[in-house]
């Protein structure tokens, strides 16, 4: 364990500072080319540049390459390749609006390095009850895992700072769970995800200077999914992600189909005169986590964001409890 401290510290520093130092240059680059979108929740038609995906993927690749210098294991290669493919898919969607099915289908392709590199075990570990061998089903799980985690993080990227802030909480909870389960190597490999998110949050928090875009959100979600598989902590990862899963579940159960946000005509959320957010009563609009939070009355963007973070902390705590429960068997 002690011999892992140096790689852990170095990779976390590289992850944090790659994003922290490269993002201002990326913002300037995007501003010069006027690659910006309006921030819908601001009064004065503020334009915010995007995507922040390039600095996020740079942080992930740089830190994971550092780790690969210390541990030559295929798990690190799986993280790098899968995250990079997810980044490319997101970047294509950032530059050219694709259909609702494009991202889920393309992300299936992103999950193939996990299979080809053989960095998975075909059993699921459940708290209290033990493991179950499901070879055929597990391959299906890998194929679905990356599209699900990628799109789940992407779907929660609706307010300033929410996607990166949520990812900080979820990924550090997952890393803590891996340490509790004494899976130290994967725990260390997972740490850069939290530090990349932390550095990006500095520029993404309200008022945002940059949005992650699909390339950023899909990259974060895909890396999270790979960690869940290679660390054999699929259930814990799902628990830490519960608020985002609730959001996707509410969206899908109200829309009853996979649809791109841009294609929805009804508005789930509107603004009050003082530009607070309020839930609409539009029956054609999807039910979302933000809409449910606002059902109690109008709130500022910051207040809604903090409510989502409190939910993330709650589910992160449940994930850590689940990790402790993994060590108990009935």
């Amino acid at each position: 364990m002690t011999e892992m401290i140096i790689p852990a510290v170095v990779s976390c520093i590289v992850a944090f500072f790659t994003v922290y130092l490269s993002t201002p240059y990326l913002i300037k680059f995007l501003q010069k080319r006027n690659i910006a979108v309006p921030d819908m929740n601001k009064k004065d038609h503020v334009m915010v540049v995007r995507p922040g995906g390039p600095s996020i993927i740079a942080g992930i690749i740089a830190s994971e390459l550092v780790l690969y210098g210390f541990f030559q294991i295929n798990e690190i290669l799986a993280i790098i390749i899968t995250s990079f493919i997810a980044f490319v898919i997101g970047y294509v969607d950032d530059r050219k609006v694709m259909g609702g099915w494009f991202k889920p289908l393309a992300l299936v392709f992103a999950s193939t390095p996990i299979i080809f590199l053989g960095v998975y075990d075909s059993h699921l570990v459940f708290p209290l009850f033990g493991t179950v061998q499901i070879p055929a089903l597990y391959l299906g799980l890998i194929i679905f895992m990356i599209p699900i985690t990628g799109n789940t993080i992407n779907s929660i990227d609706v307010l300033n700072g929410v996607a990166s802030g949520f990812m900080i909480i979820a990924s550090f909870s997952l890393s803590a769970a891996l340490f509790i389960l004494q899976n130290y190597e994967i725990a260390i490999i997972s740490l850069p995800l939290g530090f990349v998110s932390l550095a990006f949050y500095k520029y993404h928090k309200i008022p945002s200077k940059i949005f992650p875009g699909d390339s950023g959100a899909l990259t974060l979600g895909a890396m999270y999914g790979v960690i869940a598989i290679i660390g054999h902590v699929e259930i814990i990862a799902a628990v830490a992600l519960l608020p985002a899963i609730v959001n996707s579940f509410l969206f899908l159960s109200s829309m009853k189909r996979i649809v791109e946000h841009r294609q929805i005509k009804g508005k789930p959320v509107d603004h009050t005169e003082d530009f607070k957010l309020k839930a609409t009563d539009d029956k054609t609009a999807p039910i979302t986590l933000v809409r449910l939070i606002l059902a109690g009355g109008p709130l500022s963007e910051k207040q809604v964001g903090y409510t989502i973070f409190r939910l993330a902390i709650f589910s992160g705590a449940l994930a850590i409890i689940t990790a402790f429960m993994m060590r108990i068997q009935i």
Binding site: F126, F129, T131, Q133, I134, V239, S253, A295, T307, L311
Partner: protein, 76 residues
């Protein structure tokens, strides 16, 4: 509302734990014999089908619970 959301997340967590228990109890000891080389493949396919049925049941329960927990809020 906010308490309802925390409650919904908690219920989802309980359902995951309980669902895991059912999965391990049902599928763990499940095996097929008498089909030679196909034993493993057949057992795998049947396990996959049972697991998918459990997931569908899980989603249906969750939908009912969503309507129950948020019945006062979801008027849209």
């Amino acid at each position: 509302m906010k308490i309802g959301l925390f409650g919904f997340v908690f219920v989802m967590w309980v359902l995951i734990i309980a669902g895991g228990g059912i999965l391990v109890t049902l599928l763990g000891p499940f095996s097929i014999s008498g089909y030679g080389d196909f034993d493993f493949l057949l057992a795998s396919i049947i396990k996959a089908i049972i697991a998918m049925i459990l997931v569908v049941i899980w989603i249906l329960i969750l939908s009912k619970l969503k309507n129950l927990i948020f019945k006062n809020e979801i008027k849209f």
